[in-house]
């Protein structure tokens, strides 16, 4: 009998978005039914040997970092590479770096949710988990870089027998509030989004103990309409609530610098500049994480090229914003006609620190320009390499902000240099260990792709099977595990 089914295109089943815009709804043609979604996504939860290996490595780095920190506490900050007047170094740099990473998550999950950007659906869970763990990592550093870390709680305003309060004029105190708020909200947001998925896990779980724990976490989710209604409202509310935080938190972090009168810090462009940079670095980190994940867990038909393509555009955009911020800085240095400012920028770009600036400008301004080409945007390998470059570049952005400014200030007699010591590096490595450890643990307990939201964009299944695999839409789908056109 004549089939109404269209012939299956031999190549590239996945129809490229036309018009090719990020917000357009992204289809998952290779995903057929809910059953498949549950099976494949929860399938990622079973630990593999590679996973154990990764966890071991992460924990090893973490322990190294902890050892270094203990040594630093015992001996004093002198064991780090500080070289006055460069009084801030790797720790503050890494602090800002991780806070920045933390931003993409909320942007993707909250802001893009409000904008109804379809491509976020499959990547936001990853991004959000990344946010929480990045902020957890960042939060360590302000304590870690203190001369007397055991007194860190003096930054918290609490009634005490000394009759004294913190200095509320100090940006460092604002930091405490900003970071804590952000950590709380993003954690809540992540958890709320998880609830329906945890319910799924609960239902599929066989191990009684795990089942009990999932049950506890799922808050007794029963998949009723009422629950869904509340859930949707709650989720929308939280999205709206955390959206301004994305802007405020990193603005506050930027005040740590902008509020001072150090040349190179004392500038009003910092808040937008930092926020853009943060999002840029965050997207970079999302790529770094999601690309291996989709490979290892064979989720290419969930996180499709279209998703990556769209996200890459976001990266390109923020890169352009950051780039223009850099150029604005140069312009202002020249335009201000302040000799101190000009000397400093000269030294930063062509003098003592040219190499750091070079790395920064290449990674953050030059390399991302390749994303103008769609072929590059859809070239997964390049995206991964680029994401690494972006991470490096953004770390060096903070380096270039912190170190050259302090080493070349107003008083020429105190112009110095700076070189981190092994303790700095060990603690830096430790922070990556800490982050990866949490993330690895996360992906084995909870789905890295939001089951519930994926189901929203998968056509519901018919009550009865059709013999020819023809669904209501009349669209014949040859089910393939991996998306064609991506063999490379």
């Amino acid at each position: 009998m004549a089939s109404v089914a269209r012939p299956v295109p031999a190549k590239d089943v996945e129809i490229r978005q036309r018009p090719n815009i990020a917000s357009a709804d992204v289809q998952l043609p290779a995903v057929r039914d809910y059953e498949q979604v549950d099976r494949e996504i929860t399938g990622t939860l079973s630990p593999t040997g590679a996973w154990y290996l990764g966890l071991a490595v992460a924990v090893f780095f973490l322990l190294t970092g902890i050892a270094a920190w203990l040594y630093q506490i015992q001996q004093g900050l002198g064991v780090a590479g500080y070289n006055p007047p460069v009084m801030w170094g790797v720790y503050i740099i890494t602090f800002v770096f991780w806070v920045g990473i933390g931003h993409a998550g909320t942007l993707i999950s909250a802001i893009l949710y409000l904008f109804r950007a379809g491509f976020r659906t499959t990547i936001y869970r990853c991004a959000e988990a990344m946010t929480v763990f990045a902020v957890m990592t960042a939060g360590l550093f302000p304590i870690l870089h203190l001369g007397r870390p055991w007194k860190f709680f003096w930054l918290v305003p609490y009634p005490n027998w000394r009759w004294i309060w913190p200095q509320f004029k100090s940006p460092l105190v604002w930091d405490v509030f900003a970071i804590l708020t952000y950590l709380t909200v993003s954690t809540t947001f992540l958890y709320v989004g998880l609830v329906p998925d945890i319910a799924v896990l609960r239902d599929r779980e066989t191990n009684p103990i795990r089942k009990r724990i999932y049950a506890l976490l799922s808050l007794g989710w029963r998949n009723t309409d009422r629950e869904w209604r509340h859930f949707a409202r709650m989720y929308l509310f939280l999205a709206a609530f955390s959206t301004p935080l994305v802007l405020s938190v990193h603005s506050v972090v930027s005040f740590d610098f902008a509020m001072s009168l150090v040349p190179g810090w004392h500038t009003t462009i910092f808040p937008p500049y930092f926020v853009a940079g943060a999002i840029f670095s965050g997207i970079g980190m999302v790529f770094t994480i999601i690309i291996p994940l989709r490979k290892w867990f064979r989720l290419e038909h969930y996180v499709t090229l279209n998703h990556l393509d769209a996200a890459a555009k976001l990266a390109l955009f923020t890169s352009l914003v950051v780039g223009s911020a850099y150029m604005t800085e140069w312009f202002m240095a020249w335009y201000s006609a302040l000799q101190v400012e000009q000397d400093f920028f000269w030294n930063r770009i062509f003098g003592q620190w040219w190499w750091a600036s070079a790395i920064l400008y290449f990674c953050n301004m030059i390399a991302p320009l390749t994303l103008f080409s769609q072929r590059m945007r859809r070239n997964v390998t390049w995206l991964f390499i680029l994401s690494i470059l972006i991470n490096i570049g953004m770390w060096f952005e903070r380096f270039v902000i912190v170190v050259p400014s302090l080493s070349h200030e107003f008083n020429p007699w105190q112009w110095t240099s700076y070189a981190p010591s092994w303790v700095d590096y060990a603690i830096l490595a430790g922070s990556f260990g800490w982050f990866s450890m949490w993330f690895l643990l996360f992906i084995k307990q909870f789905p890295v792709i939001a089951i519930a939201e994926v189901k929203e964009i998968v056509a519901p299944r018919l009550r009865t099977e059709h013999e020819h695999g023809i669904d209501v839409a009349g669209l014949h789908v040859d089910y393939e595990r991996e998306t064609p056109g991506e063999k490379e």
Partner: protein
């Protein structure tokens, strides 16, 4: 399924924990108030101050002219106790007895040894407490040291922590004193 009760209990524990932390911070738990060690010689302040009516400055003479109150030299004690020996005659309805403490004192003196008093009132090294300023301003010794004249064994009467000092400097004490209260007044 978790009952609503579970949540309340959990939340309650968290709240209590927080409260405990804040209170302990507020209460100045780190002070050594009521510290009352046994001294090598059980020097009875009541007898000297109340019975004999001696002035604090007789022994702690430096208190009015130096930041350090100083302690009486063994020689100062012996100034009286060479005459007033360990054998105490019966007086005021109390029968004669032999004072072991005066014996100890004389043993120290004859052996040319100083008395290793145990320190009770100790401010951290980063706090400057010029005794003479307080004494000359008319702050009585008891204001800080408590009623030493009644203490058979001296103990630390007040917490001596910062809030306690400041309360007096800003005039919240009774009788009210007022003094400059910026940090560098005591911390340098």
């Amino acid at each position: 399924m978790i009952s609503r009760r579970t949540w309340i209990v959990a939340g309650g524990f968290f709240a209590l924990g927080t409260l405990a932390v804040i209170l302990s911070a507020y209460s100045g738990a780190s002070s050594s108030q009521r510290f009352s060690p046994v001294q090598p010689v059980r020097f009875p302040h009541p007898v000297h101050v109340q019975t004999l009516g001696m002035n604090c400055l007789y022994c702690h003479s430096a208190a009015s002219q130096s930041p350090d109150p100083g302690l009486p030299a063994v020689g100062t004690c012996m100034g009286c106790h060479t005459i007033i020996g360990p054998d105490r005659p019966a007086m005021e309805g109390r029968e004669a007895f032999r004072s072991a403490e005066i014996e100890k004192l004389q043993k120290y003196a004859s052996g040319n040894l100083p008395i290793p008093w145990v320190r009770i009132h100790k401010l951290p090294e980063y706090v400057r407490f010029p005794h003479m300023r307080h004494v000359t301003a008319g702050v009585s010794c008891q204001t800080c040291h408590g009623d030493v004249q009644n203490m058979q064994q001296v103990y630390q009467a007040n917490s001596l922590n910062m809030g306690w000092c400041v309360s007096c400097h800003v005039g919240q004490s009774n009788p009210p004193f007022r003094a400059r209260y910026d940090c560098a007044n005591c911390h340098y």
